[in-house]
Each structure stands twice: as C-alpha cells, then as structure tokens.
C-alpha cells in the first residue's frame, strides 16, 4: 500500500517539476526579452526522448549511469517526508534522517559521472571535474548549516525539524536561525547549478557534450531525474528552513519560491570560473555557517 502512495507522490512531484521547469524557462526568457518556449515544453522533450528507439552505448557503466542517476534522484524523494503530519506522504523517511539524504545525493552524481566517463568523451570529464570540485565546497556551508540546525533542534530527523517549526512564520528556521539559513541558501545556489555557478554545465551546452552521448531514453531518464532532483532539493530546504508544508498547496508555493530564487540570481549574475566559485563558497557562505554554529 505504501508503494502506491509513494508512486502517487512521485507522480505529483514529476508533474509539478515539469510544469515548474517550463514556467521558469518562460519567465527567464521574458526577463531576457525573449518569448521563450511554451510551459509544456519539458513534457514534449521528455516524451520525445523516451520515444527515440535508436540507442548507442559505450558499455555497461554507460548504460547503468542514468539508472544510478535516476536512482539517486528518486532515492532522495523516497527518503524525504513531503507533507508534514501526513503519514501517507512521508514516504520512507523512517528509514533514515537528514544525513541519509545528504549522502544520497552522491549516488546519483557518482553513477552519472561513471556513465559519462565510460563514454570517453573529454568534455564529460571536464564537466565531471568541475561538478565534483564545486560540489565539495558547496557542501561545506550546507553542512555547517545542517549542524547548526541539528544543534538548534537537537535532532537530525527531518520530520521532527519540520515539527519544531510549526506555529507560524516566526518559528521557521529562517527566523530562529537566520545565519544557518543564509549559509544554506547560498550553498543552494551552488547545488542548483544556475549562474553564477553553472560553469559545470558548460560542456553540456556544447554540441559535442554529454547530451549527445546520452541521448534517447538515457537522456530522458536524466531529464526526469533533473526534474525530481530540483524539486526535491527545494523541498529539502523548505523542510529545513521554511517550516515545511502541511499540504500540497503550501508545498507547491514554497517549493516554487525556493526554486525561483537561484533562477533569479542566475539571471542577474555572470558565470564564475570553477576555481573562483570554489573560493567563493569557502569565504562568505562558510563564514556564515561558522557564525551560525557559534551563535546558535
């Protein structure tokens, strides 16, 4: 029975994510004085990709890469409680806490990187290098923030963290622990890999990049994952810092706003080089994180 609810939740999240992606793409286009794609464009892309029959593979790991990637995304979904107080949509969050989710992010990255690696394309390794490098430093402020809120709430269970934030906006971590929230939100920019931290994606923008390697069904899986992952990360931040959600409506709104924030920032700032972004994360966000721990 659980599985049915979980799948239901997954279905909702995927659809929501696709829509959100479409809407955001349109918004950014408008900001850039372009017309942009229709909001349902992600659906079209997805379906098209899954429909392509011709497949090329470079080997087992190449084949399994997208599986790993999607498993990572879905895994985060599976272990994340979605709606507070709702037994149905708490998924498998009883199997592990916040730490599990933090570490589950690695699985997808690893699988993807391995798959791309077996493709043997130089751009893929460049992208992987950049992604991994940046990711290590992005995690620093986030980890500090997590420690800070763990100290604050004396728990690592997401459900309990959300529970502690109930009772109005003044109980949100945003208010009770603004430093941690600040640090985490800065690192969120890096996690979402929008500008200025999207040099990671640069190889993909190249016509010869990994998207050409991973195509068809593979690409479809990757896209699915990206949709899920984006939303889930937003939900994670929502749960940790913005009081969680007691129903789907609030969840949609909050997730959209949180998701919109890196997009907005990305629309404003130019790209950093990778070594610049590494340093950047280790300065201001990390400092905030440290302060968050000191002043908790």
């Amino acid at each position: 029975m659980k599985i049915v609810y979980v799948l239901l939740g997954l279905f909702i999240i995927i659809n929501y994510g696709l829509l959100q992606a479409g809407v955001l793409r349109r918004i950014t286009a408008r900001v850039g004085k372009r017309i942009g794609v229709p909001f349902y464009q992600p659906y079209i892309d997805l379906i098209k990709n899954y429909a392509i029959r011709s497949q090329f593979s470079h080997g087992v790991m190449f084949y399994l890469g997208p599986v790993f990637r999607l498993s990572g995304g879905v895994g985060i979904f599976l272990f994340m409680p979605l709606i507070f107080g709702n037994e149905i949509f708490s998924n498998y969050s009883m199997a592990g806490d916040l730490i599990l989710i933090m570490y589950f992010m690695f699985i997808g990255m690893l699988g993807m990187a391995l798959g791309a690696g077996e493709g043997g394309h130089p751009y893929s390794i460049i992208g992987i290098t950049r992604g991994l490098s940046q990711f290590t430093t992005v995690e620093v402020p986030f980890t500090l923030a997590v420690i800070s809120i763990a100290i604050q709430y004396q728990t690592l269970s997401i459900t309990e963290i959300v529970a502690a934030q109930q009772g109005g906006i003044m109980h949100w971590t945003l208010m009770t622990n603004p430093l941690a929230t600040g640090a985490a939100m800065l690192s969120f920019l890096g996690m979402m890999m929008y500008a200025p931290f999207n040099v990671v994606n640069a190889p993909q923008e190249n016509p010869l990049g990994p998207p050409t390697e991973f195509h068809g069904t593979f690409l479809g899986m990757l896209q699915t994952n990206r949709v899920i992952l984006g939303v889930m990360e937003a939900i994670l931040f929502m749960n940790l810092f913005f009081g969680g959600a007691t129903n789907w409506g609030i969840l949609f709104i909050k997730a959209f706003l949180i998701y919109f924030y890196p997009v907005f920032v990305g629309a404003v700032f130019p790209r950093y080089r990778i070594d610049q972004s590494i340093r950047w994360f280790l300065y201001l966000p990390t400092a905030l994180g440290i302060l968050a721990i000191i002043f908790i």
Binding site: V67, V74, G96, L114, T129, L144, I293
Partner: protein, 1046 residues
C-alpha cells in the same frame, strides 16, 4: 682445571718460539698460533663454565710466590672469566678472519697478533696497576703493529697518530701511578681502593690522572680523532678487534679502577659517556665511510656503556644484566660488521649495494645492524628495556632522554646505511666471499641469536611461547629454498593456526570483543592478504619469515598484558614491516623515513611506559590506569608512538611513499592491517588512561584536531596523485585521521564509529589495494595516466573498486554510510562542530579521489598496449571477493557488528549508544535503518533498470571517441590520458592546503642536523698533533670540571 697463568705462559712461549719458525712454512706458524689461541680460549671458557655451573670461588694467582701487595697478583673471578672468554673468542675468530693477512706477513705479525690478545688477557686479570700499565702498553704497541697489516699510507700515518696519542695517555697514567704510589704506598689495586687516596692533597689528583687515562683509553668524544682514523684506515679485521676486544677490555679496566675514585667519580664518568654517546652518534650521521661510521658507532656504544656504569647504583641488581646484554650485542655485532666491511672492501657506504645479490650477507648485515639498534629480539633490546625501566624507576629521566636521543642518532646513520646496502646495483661487479672471511661473521650472528634467547630468558620478561614465532620464522628462513607456492601455503597455515588458537580458543570464549575484532582484522586479514602471494614466481627469499614476524608482532600486541610485551610486539612488528617495505624496488629512501619516524615514536612510547612505571611501579598495562600525576605526559608520549603508526598529520610523511614503493601484496598488508595496530594501541591507551582520568581530558581534544586536520590534508593530497598506489596511500592518512577523530571524541558513539570504521576500513582498503595491485600486476605500471578503459578487460576488478570507493565515500546504501551517520550524531552530541565540519569536508573531498581512481583506471578510452589485457589473476580476486562479501553482509545487516561493539563499549561509556529496534538504529538525534535502505534502494534501482531495459531494447555498443592521438604525438606520456590532472582547478583554488610544508620542515630539520654535524666534525683536522692537543685539552678541561674550575 688449567690455571689462568698458563694463558700467559702459553701465549708468550708460543710467541717467542715462533721466532724459530720464521723461515718455515707459514701454515705451520699459523697452526701453532691458532692452536695456542684456541687453548687460551679453552682455558678462559673452562673458567667461565666453572663459574656458571658451580660455585667456583674467585681465585687470586700470586706471581713469584708472594702475596700482594708484595708481588703482582692476577685475579680470576666471574667477571674476569666472562671478559676473557669474550676477548679470546674474538681473538680466535679474528685469527680465522685475518688468516690470509697473517699468512702473507709471516711469523712476526702472528706473534704480534697473538701477544695483543695476551696483553688484553693480562690487563683484564691483573690486580697491580703498574702491571696493568705495562700490558696496556703491550696491547697498544701490538695494535699499532697490526694497523700496518695493510700497507696503506693512511694506515701508516694513522698508526703514528695512534702512537702519539697512546704515548701521551700512557705517560699520564704513569705519572698518576707513581703519584698514587707515593700517596697510597701501594700498587695493588685492592689496597688503592681501600686507602684514603682521595682525601690526601695530591692523592686525588693522582686518582684523577689514573682515571682520566683510563677514560682516554676508551676514546671519549671529542678527544678521539686518532682512534677514528685507525678505525678508518686499518684493515677492518683490526677494526673488529679494536671495537670488540680492546674496547671491551678498556671498559673492564674502567670497571676495575673506578672504585679507586669512589662514588664521586660516577657522575663525571657518566657525563663523559654522555658526551661520547651523543657527540659521536651525532657526528656519525654525516659519515660516508663505512669503517669510520663503525668507529663512531663503537665510540658511541662505549659511551653508552660508560653511562650505564656510572648509573650502576640506580640499576641495582639489574646492572649486570643491562651492562652485559648491551656489551655483548655491541661486541658481536660491531665485530661482525667490521668483518663484513672487510669482505665488501668498499669505503663508501654507497657502494655497499654490491652485496645486493648475496642474500646471506644482507641477512648478516641486517642482523648486526638491528642488534646494534636494540631492536627485538636481539639481546640489547632487553638490556635497553631494563635500563630505561630501572632508570625510570629511580626517576632519572634526563638520562633516559639522553640515552634515547643518542640511540636515535645512531639509528639514523645505521638505518640509512642499511638502506644503502639494498640499493639497486648497476655495476655487476662480482663479490668474492672467501669462506674464512665469512665464517667469523656467521658464528657471530649465531652467537647473537643464542644470546637473544639467553638474555630473554635471563631477563625473566619473556615466556617461551614468545619464541614460537621466531622459531617459525627461522624455520621458514631455513626452508627459503622452497618455491613460493609451498611457502605461501605454510605461511597461511601458520597464520590460520595462530588465529584459531587466539581468536577461537581464547578470545571468543572470553567474549573479549575488542580482541576478537582486532584479532580478526590482524589475522584473518593476514590470511586473505597472503593469497596473492601465489601469483609470485620464484623464491621470494626472505619474504615469508618477515611476514610471519610481522603478523605475530601484531598478534603479540593483542596478546600483550604488560607494557614490556606490548613494546616488544610493537618493535617487532615495526621492524618486520620495515624490512618488508624495504624489499620494494625503490623503497630504500622511504622505508628509511618510515623506520626513523617509527623509532622516534617507539622511543617516545618507551619514555611514556617508563614514566608510568616510575609512578605505579608496575609494568602491567592495566596499571596505566593508576597513573595520576604524570598522566598527561604518559598519555602524550605513548600516543605519539601510535600517531606515527597511523600517520597523523605532522608525522605522516613516511606513509605515502612507503605504501607506494612496497611490494604490491605488501601494501595491502600494511595499509589495511598494520596501521590498525596504531588504532588498537590508541584504544588500549585510552581505555586504560583517559576514561578513568579526568586530568588528561584536554589531550583528546588536541588529538581530535590532529585527526580532523589529518583527514583534511590526507584527502586533499590524495586527489592530486597520479600514482595509483600513492593515491590510495594518501587516502589512508585521511581515513586514519577520521578514526583518530572518532576515538578522541571519547564518547560511546565516537568510539563505535572509530571501531566499526576500523573494520570497514580494513575491508575496503584491503579491497582497493588488492584490486589496484591486481591491476598493476597486469598493466605493469602504477601511473594512473597510463591506464584507462580497463572496465571491459577487468570487469571483476572494476566491481571491486566500485564497491570499495562507494564504501570509502560513505555513500548509502553500503556500510560506509554507517560511519558517516554515526559520526554526525557523535559530533553533534559531543559538540565538536568545527572539527566535525572539517572532517565532513574532507569526506566530500574523498569523493574526488575516489572518482579519479575508478574513472582514470577503468573508464575512458583504453590504451593501445592494454587491448589484449586479461582479468587479473584469480589469487588477487579471491580475497577481493571475500572482502566484498564481507562488506555486503555488514551493509545489509550492520547490526551484527555494531550491536556487540556497542554492548562492549557500554561497559566503558554507559548510555548514549545506539538504540536498536529491529534493524533500525537510533540515537537521540536521528535514526537509520540500513536494511530498509538497502531494500528500498535495491528495489528502486531494479525498477528503474527494468524500465530502461524495456525502453531501450536495441542498444548498439560503439567504441569511444579516440581523441588522444589525433594529430600530434605527445611529448610527455601523461598527456596521453585525457583526464590527466583532472583536478587542476581545485588545485588552483585550494592547492595551498596541499603544499608540502610539513615535508619541507622535516627535511629542513634533517638538513640542519647534517649541516651542524658537518661543521662540528671539522675539528677532527686529521693532524695527529691536533689530536694530541685534544687529549691534553680534554685532560685539563676535565680537571677543571671536576675541581669546579669552571
């Protein structure tokens, strides 16, 4: 029984009658001489036997039929018998060794040779001081004569220096004697001791002159340039005599005459010894000439023995044991080394690698050098232990520090030298070893082994069962001619038997969780890691005895119940691992730094144990808990030894290269098993000390920071490595830092993390190194940029590495995550947020090199020369898959290890453990259900995989892009790997963290030592006159010092 007077009569008679044989066949002369010397040896041995076997009384031999003091008397007591036997045995061996020299030079030199030993014999026995002077002159004249056995210009001029110096010394002695006669009225030593010479004005000066002359005979630093030149220039056979017999005799003179000076002279003698010991060992570091090094070392050892003599009061009834065990080690080993030096016949130690292809000689050299260093199981080890412990008991920590410092200096040059003997040898000069040259050295090494056993038994510290590993190692050594396959089976059988006895029969019934765990890691691990040995062809000479010694050392650590046993096992394991590492082709330099750091750490530990003994008076490990006053010191000192082993930041620089350069199947042993000895040591230490001791509570805090920084720096360095073994090696530093951090948290969860992580680390590090080694075995390269695309060729290895790095990186669902999760909880509960954050950051950094490892080896385009590669040998794969199974079991059901450990720990850390509900573990902070996660993951992965499989039915496998050789030929091989230097941006941003400033600062220290030593030794100008001046200055300075003139 043959009276001792016949020693003299026979020697002199033979020597005088050799004059009849001057023109006769030299073999006859030699035979006569040898027979006489053998008989003399027999006489002394017979007396020794009499003293040992039954209550033989000390006897006096009166010459001329009058009682002393009216005539000269000789004394034969136990001590005399011991020394005489030593001297005469050396004489016999030297005679064999110098056979060709003596034969070439004829009867004259044989007389001289023989009379040298006669002189030494009388010097030992005589109780008349003027007689002592006369026979001392005999021995120095004979020695000068023997120096010219080899006609070298250097030898002649050094003989002249020696003559001048010994002439001055004997004149000083003579003046002292005549004045002592005037003031004391007797030349009989016993009378002189009883008389009140010291209290007569002038009489004390007479005593001073006599004793200073004796001290000068011991060639004290710095008034010893003449002696060093002799050591250097004389043929090494003479060096053996000088350091073995003459120095021994001189020590006996000091022992005999010291009572004249009374207690007031003990301290000055001790200080002289200290200056000699430290000074000459320090200068020895700079030497390159083999015989001169041996000379420095001899002088240093004599200094040590002088120190011991001056501390005889503090050592009490252990004095004899300490003195004798160190003396005999020095005597046998130094002579042996001189003999080997003669065989090799190369001045520079850099050229000693000529023995590279002579395993026998290497073993002998090793035995002698390690004996000098006082490593187990050689006699000096027990001597040093008793020395340090008894000094500690009476609180003489200054002396302890001095002794250990000097020993460390000595270790530096001896070990460097040992390393050089194993250097690769390009020139194929064949070394001819004559039987009569090698024979004495062989005998000497046998004697060392015999005394190892005897001193061990005599010390009462060792029960017979500790010799079982040695017996097995010796057996394997004797069976060294067998092929690897059989020896490997034997080794596995031995370790299996050992682990059966220890773990199954002992620990499991006792339910001693800690020992079960580490027994498992050490021994079961050993069995697994011995499997790849089957892939080796040929004999692998010397490998298996060392392996057995190393593992039995590790087992000994677990077994140890006293600090002695612990230290013994520790040193043995260190030694064996050092020798294993040094077997690697280019491992000489790095094994040197390994052993230096280890020795320094061991010495610290030694002092720590001494301090504990000082306070508690017990050498039981449990007694560490009773240390209160010096708890912090003990804690720090002992911990340093362990920190070296786990390569914590600051003392880590030995590790990467050692791991890298060791043999491919040795590396996993060291990296996954041996380092755990440090962890085990820390656990034992902390369990015994910190928990019950509030005073030491801030040390874990420091250790915690060290651990965190080690984790960071180790991982940071790992990501830039292009050598695959080095990469894994650096990661070990990181992981060990992680474990150290866990332990130093001093909480239930921290320890649970650390201990379980020790197990996990063992599993995946062994797995990774085995996989890597298996790959190296096929690809014949360690450079990561020369690999690539191997996934299709070696899929099984790929799986191993994949599992290994997933575990290492701590990704769910594998068991690595358990560590991370518990860690978070522990850190937050403990409140060590920043250290924890650093450790986390480094954990993420670990992800970088994990990926590099798997990607650059297995993915991407394959190299042309690897296209035909096969999967690695099954012997590499068997242990890998056993380990994988282990990892999987623990991953699915971590409760099986975590729960018992938790129970065990709750004895020490009540509360704050994991609470188990079914398969869910929880703390007050969070929860985690490994089994469920695994199931969810597996299900999800399977579903997604099936979806993909269904949707992409016709997959066409294509080759990768080959972008490498598109147009130009690369100039450097590394540029042919498309992912070379993949973390360049990271280096650009955070490279400063990986700057080798620690290595540089250690090197700076080492270089400074050299520079200082180089300046100091300039005062040995080589001018005989200057040396004479040194002697006179030494006398004056000593006089001023004694009389408070300074």
């Amino acid at each position: 029984m043959v009276g001792p007077i016949y020693i003299i009569a026979i020697s002199l008679g033979t020597a005088f009658s050799l004059g009849f044989f001057k023109k006769a066949n030299r073999n006859i002369s030699f035979g006569l001489m040898f027979f006489a010397m053998a008989f003399v040896t027999f006489i002394s041995g017979q007396w020794l036997y009499a003293f040992l076997s039954h209550q033989q009384e000390t006897i006096q031999i009166f010459t001329a039929g009058f009682k002393p003091p009216f005539s000269i008397s000789l004394q034969m007591g136990f001590h005399e018998a011991v020394f005489l036997t030593m001297i005469n045995v050396l004489g016999l061996l030297s005679a064999i060794y110098l056979f060709d020299h003596l034969k070439e030079k004829g009867a004259n030199m044989m007389m001289v040779f023989m009379l040298l030993f006669m002189g030494l014999n009388v010097v030992v026995m005589t109780r008349d001081i003027f007689n002592l002077f006369v026979f001392l002159e005999i021995s120095s004249i004979t020695l000068v004569g023997l120096i010219i056995l080899e006609k070298k210009q250097d030898a002649i001029s050094s003989g002249f220096k020696y003559l001048i110096a010994s002439g001055i010394i004997s004149q000083i002695l003579l003046i002292g004697i005549i004045a002592a006669y005037y003031y004391g009225g007797s030349l009989f030593i016993n009378d002189m001791v009883d008389s009140n010479l010291l209290f007569v004005k002038g009489g004390s000066v007479a005593v001073f002159l006599i004793l200073i002359a004796v001290v000068l005979e011991l060639k004290p630093f710095p008034a010893n340039g003449w002696a060093l030149d002799v050591y250097q220039s004389a043929t090494p056979g003479i060096g053996a005599i000088v350091s073995g017999a003459v120095a021994t005799t001189s020590l006996f003179i000091l022992y005999k005459l010291l009572p004249i000076g009374g207690d007031a002279w003990l301290l000055p003698i001790g200080i002289t010894g200290v200056i000699s010991f430290l000074g000459s060992n320090f200068l020895g570091i700079n030497q390159k000439n083999a015989n001169r090094i041996l000379g420095y070392s001899s002088i240093g050892q004599v200094g040590l023995l002088m120190i011991i003599m001056s501390l005889s009061k503090d050592l009490g009834d252990k004095f004899e044991f300490v003195f004798f065990s160190i003396l005999i080690s020095h005597y046998l080993a130094k002579a042996g080394l001189f003999w080997i030096s003669g065989i090799i016949n190369k001045d520079e130690i850099g050229q000693w690698n000529i023995i590279k292809n002579k395993p026998g000689l290497i073993v002998l050299t090793g035995v002698f050098m390690l004996t000098l260093l006082g490593l187990p199981p050689f006699p000096s080890f027990y001597g040093k232990w008793e020395l340090i412990m008894n000094l500690a008991h009476s609180g003489n920590f200054t002396w302890i520090a001095i002794i250990l410092l000097g020993s460390f200096f000595e270790a530096i040059y001896l070990l460097r030298w040992f390393g050089k003997t194993l250097m690769n040898n390009e020139n194929s000069e064949e070394l001819i070893v004559k039987f009569h040259k090698i024979f004495p050295a062989v005998i000497s090494s046998f004697l060392i082994l015999m005394f190892s056993f005897l001193t061990a038994r005599w010390s009462g510290l060792m029960s017979v069962k500790y010799f079982i590993p040695f017996a097995i190692a010796l057996l394997l050594f004797a069976l060294d001619f067998l092929p690897v396959f059989i020896k490997n089976i034997m080794a596995i059988a031995t370790v299996s038997w050992y682990s059966y006895v220890l773990i199954y029969q002992t620990y499991i019934p006792e339910n001693d969780i800690l020992r079960i765990i580490f027994g498992f890691i050490f021994l079961i691990g050993a069995i697994l890691l011995l499997f790849p040995g089957f892939t080796f062809k040929g004999k692998r000479r010397g490998f298996y005895p060392l392996v057995i010694l190393m593992f039995s050392g590790l087992a000994g650590l677990i077994e140890a119940r006293t600090t002695f046993q612990f230290f013994f096992a520790w040193e043995m394991m260190t030694l064996a691992s050092y020798l294993l590492i040094i077997r690697g082709k280019n491992a000489k330099k790095t094994s040197f730094s390994y052993i230096l750091f280890s020795m320094a750490g061991a010495f610290m530990m030694f002092i720590g144990f001494g301090l504990a003994y000082f306070e508690t008076g017990s050498i039981s490990l449990n007694a560490l808990a009773d240390v209160l006053i010096y708890a912090n010191w003990v804690y720090i000192l002992v911990a340093v030894g362990f920190l070296v082993k786990i390569a914590s930041l600051g003392v880590h620089i030995w590790l990467p290269d050692s791991y890298t350069e060791a043999d491919d199947d040795v590396t996993p042993m060291i990296s996954s098993i041996l380092v755990k000895s440090g962890v085990f040591g820390l656990i034992i230490l902390m369990l015994s000390m910190s928990l019950k001791n509030a005073a030491s509570s801030n040390i874990p805090y420091i250790l915690g920071w060290i651990g965190a920084l080690s984790a960071l720096i180790g991982n940071m360095l790992a990501i830039y490595q292009e050598d695959v073994k080095k990469l894994v090696a650096y990661s070990s530093i990181g992981i060990m830092g992680y474990i150290l951090f866990g332990l130093s948290m001093m909480s239930h969860l921290g320890w649970l993390t650390a201990i379980s992580y020790s197990i996990v680390h063992f599993l995946y590090k062994a797995l990774l190194f085995l996989a890597v080694a298996g790959i190296i075995y096929r690809t014949k390269t360690r450079n990561i940029y020369e690999m690539g695309g191997l996934i299709k060729r070696m899929p099984l290895s790929f799986i191993s590495v994949l599992i290994g790095i997933i575990t290492l990186a701590g990704m769910p669902p594998l068991v690595g995550f358990a560590g991370k999760w518990m860690f978070y909880n522990a850190v937050i509960l403990k409140g060590w947020y920043f250290q924890g954050a650093i450790v986390f950051f480094s954990g993420i950094v670990a992800f970088l090199y994990c990926f590099k490892l798997i990607h650059n080896i297995f993915l991407g385009p394959i190299k042309d020369n690897h296209r035909k590669l096969k999967e690695t040998s099954v012997w590499w794969l068997i242990p890998q898959f056993v380990l994988i199974i282990g990892i999987m079991i623990i991953s699915v059901y971590p409760k099986i290890i975590l729960e018992p450990i938790g129970l065990y720990l709750s004895m020490y850390f009540p509360g704050e453990g994991l609470v188990w509900a079914g398969t869910t573990a929880s703390t007050s902070l969070g929860y985690w259900d490994a089994t469920q996660i695994m199931m969810v993951f597996a299900g999800m992965f399977g579903v997604i995989f099936i979806i993909l499989f269904l949707m992409s039915r016709k997959v066409q496998v294509v080759e990768q892009f080959n972008i490498v050789f598109q147009a130009e030929r690369p100039e450097r091989p590394e540029t042919t790997h498309y992912a070379h230097n993949m973390y360049a941006p990271y280096n650009k941003a955070l490279g400063f963290l990986a700057a080798p400033f620690i290595t540089n600062s250690w090197e700076f220290i080492y270089e400074s030592f050299h520079a200082i030593g180089d300046q100091i030794r300039k005062f040995y100008t080589g001018n005989g006159q200057t040396y004479a001046l040194h002697i006179v200055m030494y006398v004056v300075a000593f006089y001023l010092f004694i009389n408070g003139g300074f």
